[in-house]
């Protein structure tokens, strides 16, 4: 009866994991991408002796401090959830995938240390010395992302261990675990996604400011730096994603079949955009005959594996959601390339950001768009792997905790994270407002003199309130 009891907690456990991970992933992306933005601004500022760029770098570093702090907290929650929600998974395979988290720990630790030095070092470290303390932050962000995403890749393509008859793990080969077959496409796809989310989110903030009539150099540069990086990376991401889809068709054919709602194995498969997935295939979408086969193998003769090759209990749920999430991701990615072309052509002709309202509006929505694409991609890879937590090795229902009361913790998590997200946004907005209104004390000028210790500035007698 323990299995019955456990499966009762499966839905709340999956919901809590999806929710807390879906929240954390946005902050994690900023943790990976934001340091690079701030360093680019810092570099331009130092190189061209540009105070506006330096001011941007400093403000971005403060924003990064807030998002990093919240991300560290939501990340800690995830590490608890490995035990709280999935003790059977971590209990059995922790010794296999944990290897990657030990490496991630080093990157995260170094990132935290150098980010702190960078943020707190504006006044006293100064110039290029200060710039270089920020470089490890960007490198460690990428390293950390590699380690964590490689764990997810391993869940999609598990290898590097032997399962004994009693279910116990033996013969762990850490290198095979780290460099599993899904790493080459999943890791770059996620790191690029992190950069795209950061770039378009930051650019969208400045686009909104420009739409409200703030067209000073500060806003123009704030838009220009992330938008340029984002528009360069968007087409690269498209190619990486295209490769990933082909690899998934080969490595995880059932996930691919569910994404595209391919019920029976056949060739000359139609690619559908939109629509809903039924047992007779897609209903209501726009079909392009043969394209799905062509995308998988560059020929309409390519056979695409259907869902009916495995028993119903081994197929992912929510195929319509999967299909639409995949379409949303690809659609938004395509739109971002379009935005990049618009920007690129305008820049080439006039050496300036297009000043039309429509361009700024497009940039303004691109931030939310990239987050939607990010979440959609995550739905595709996670829901698409179900019912497995470790592909074809362990079912998610086998992994869940025997503890009860997860609906309660899930409810608390939703309320708590809603408050956390709201507070973070309100605080960032109030920071922006205070910066705009010039409520910046003199000691906050980049590389200015230090304000010193609290007792040195606070009056010895009399209240400071």
């Amino acid at each position: 009866m323990t299995t019955l009891g456990a499966s009762g907690e499966l839905l709340p456990a999956r919901s809590q994991m999806a929710f807390t991970l879906g929240f954390h992933i946005i902050l994690a992306c900023l943790g990976v991408g934001f340091p690079a933005m701030m360093l680019i601004a810092n570099y331009i500022g130092l190189r061209r002796k540009d105070p506006v760029a330096l001011e941007l770098a400093q403000r971005w570093s403060k924003v990064a401090a807030v998002t990093f702090a919240v991300g560290a907290v939501t990340g800690t929650v995830l590490s608890f959830e490995f035990g709280l929600l999935w003790p059977e998974f971590t209990g059995r395979f922790g010794e296999v995938f944990g290897v990657l988290f030990t490496i991630e720990g080093i990157f995260f630790f170094l990132e935290a240390i150098f980010l702190t030095i960078y943020i707190f070092g504006w006044k006293r470290l100064g110039g290029w010395k200060h710039f270089w303390t920020g470089v490890p932050v960007a490198i460690c962000g990428i390293g950390g992302a590699f380690s964590v995403v490689a764990v997810n890749a391993w869940m999609n393509q598990p290898q590097g261990f032997t399962l004994g008859a009693d279910g116990a793990v033996t013969d762990v080969d850490p290198l095979e675990v780290i460099f599993n077959p899904a790493v080459p496409y999943e890791v770059p796809h996620m790191i690029l996604a992190a950069y795209l989310v950061t770039c378009f989110l930051v650019a969208s903030v400045y686009a909104v400011g420009m739409l409200r009539g703030r067209r000073d150099r500060h806003h123009r540069l704030g838009l220009l730096i992330p938008l340029t990086v984002g528009c360069i990376l968007a087409p690269i991401q498209f190619m990486v994603g295209d490769t990933a889809a082909r690899e998934i068709a080969k490595d995880q054919p059932i996930k691919f079949a569910a994404m595209e709602c391919v019920q029976h194995t056949h060739s000359d498969v139609t690619e559908y955009i939109g629509g809903r997935c039924t047992e007779d295939g897609i209903k209501g979408g726009i079909g392009i005959p043969g394209l799905d086969s062509w995308l998988v193998g560059f020929s309409t003769d390519t056979e695409v594996t259907g869902l009916d090759t495995v028993p119903a209990k081994d197929r992912p749920p929510a195929n319509t959601l999967l299909h639409l999430a995949f379409d949303a991701m690809v659609g938004i990615g395509t739109a971002l390339i379009g935005l990049g072309l618009w920007f690129g052509i305008a820049w080439w002709r006039r050496r300036d950001i297009p000043q039309t309202k429509w361009f700024l509006r497009a940039v303004a929505v691109s931030g939310v768009g990239t987050i939607l694409a990010l979440e959609s991609g995550w739905i595709v890879t996670e829901v698409g792997r179900q019912p497995w937590i470790v592909y074809e090795v362990m079912r998610t229902e086998e992994a869940v905790t025997g503890a009860s009361g997860i609906w309660v913790t899930f409810g608390i998590a939703v309320v708590l994270y809603a408050a956390l997200g709201t507070a973070a946004i309100l605080i960032l907005r109030s920071m922006a407002r205070r910066w705009r209104e010039g409520e910046i004390p003199d000691d906050e000028v980049p590389y200015g003199p230090s304000a010193g210790a609290p007792a040195a500035t606070a009056p010895i007698t009399g209240g400071s309130e």
């Binding site: 800690t76 035990g83 059977e88 971590t90 209990g91 922790g94 013969d171 708590l416 605080i427």
Partner: protein, 336 residues
């Protein structure tokens, strides 16, 4: 010493560092909560912000380190602990979220009211988080965590004498460490009044922690016999070292010679942690799972040791740089 023992040692280094640095951080939250209003309360909180601002993030990375090493090297123990102790660990996670949010937001809060709410969240969760972690340690030490998925009692496993006492001891130790650290920090800023303020509180907290530690011996004798036998057996020298360090801190604080107080205070806490480890050896879960039986595959253990070696080479110098820059006041707080 086997490879598994070496990895258990690495785990214990992480536990010790978290107890010291994370503990001091929690304790600072306690002092912030009870600093009161008015000018002095403001100054106390300003000192606390200034002292822990640059280091609080890295202080808590040690917790991640402990969790990751535990689940990688001793997966079965991790699963047993987290499933049986679902309630206190969920509450500790809740405390961590509230605490991080409170600390990250309070300086940047747009209004005084919001700032006070953030500070209160930070303070209260600084109290609750170590308490619940202490109840978890109590549950493990008193043998209430059986192997398997949620096989132990979800409530009595952590609501019992040993757990409550260790919860209280964790809070007292954190508060004590923080006060000793803050004495030095007050001196660094040249604030004589706050130096006296924290000296008095450090003495009080030291006595409270000492009383709880002595009470702990009796509670252990009644309800955690295996650990008790270890503490009065092979781990006795460490218990004595801890007591001597603790008394030394008291003597130094009373004399006003703060130079050695921090080191001795850290020594007292570290010695207790290692005494617990020695008393529990060779068990991960007393009388339920030994280190060797619960250890991961050999290659995994070796990999952990390699990563730990790399971490020592990379992280320690970086951490040293952070603490040195921070202590030399090269890293300064900035307001929103």
């Amino acid at each position: 010493m086997s490879t598994a023992d070496a990895v258990a040692g690495v785990l214990w280094v992480g536990v010790t560092l978290y107890a010291v640095f994370g503990g001091a951080d929690f304790g600072a939250g306690f002092w912030s909560l009870f600093a009161g209003g008015g000018e002095r309360g403001t100054r106390v909180r300003a000192l606390i912000d200034w002292a822990i601002g640059p280091v609080w993030e890295s202080n808590h990375v040690w917790l991640i380190f402990v969790l990751v090493v535990l689940w990688t090297a001793f997966s079965a123990a991790f699963a047993a602990i987290f499933s049986t102790l679902f309630i206190p660990l969920s509450l500790a996670a809740l405390g961590i979220v509230l605490r991080g949010a409170g600390f990250a937001f309070h300086k940047l809060a747009p209004s005084d009211r919001e700032r006070r709410v953030s500070q209160a969240l930070f303070g209260v969760s600084s109290l609750l988080t170590p308490f619940f972690m202490g109840t978890v340690v109590g549950a493990i030490a008193s043998g209430r965590v059986p192997l398997g998925n949620a096989e132990g009692d979800p409530v009595t496993s952590w609501l019992n004498g040993v757990s409550l006492l260790i919860g209280a001891l964790f809070v007292a130790t954190s508060v004590y460490l923080a006060a000793v650290f803050l004495v030095s920090d007050s001196r660094r800023t040249g604030d004589v009044e706050l130096e006296r303020y924290f000296t008095a509180r450090a003495l009080g907290a030291a006595v409270a922690a000492g009383v709880l530690a002595v009470a702990g011996i009796f509670v252990f004798r009644a309800d955690a016999r295996y650990i008790y036998d270890g503490l009065v057996g092979e781990a006795l020298p460490l218990v004595i070292v801890s007591a001597v360090c603790g008394l030394g801190v008291l003597a130094l604080l009373r004399r006003g010679a703060h130079r050695g107080a921090r080191v001795l205070a850290v020594g007292a806490v570290a010695a207790v942690i290692w005494a617990w480890g020695a008393a529990q050896y060779p068990y991960l879960l007393p009388e339920k799972l030994t280190i060797s039986a619960g250890a991961a595959d050999h290659d995994t253990l070796i990999e952990i040791l390699i990563v730990f070696g790399v971490a020592v080479l990379l992280v320690l110098p970086a951490l040293g740089l952070l603490y040195v820059l921070s202590q030399r006041s090269m890293l300064e707080e900035e307001g929103g």
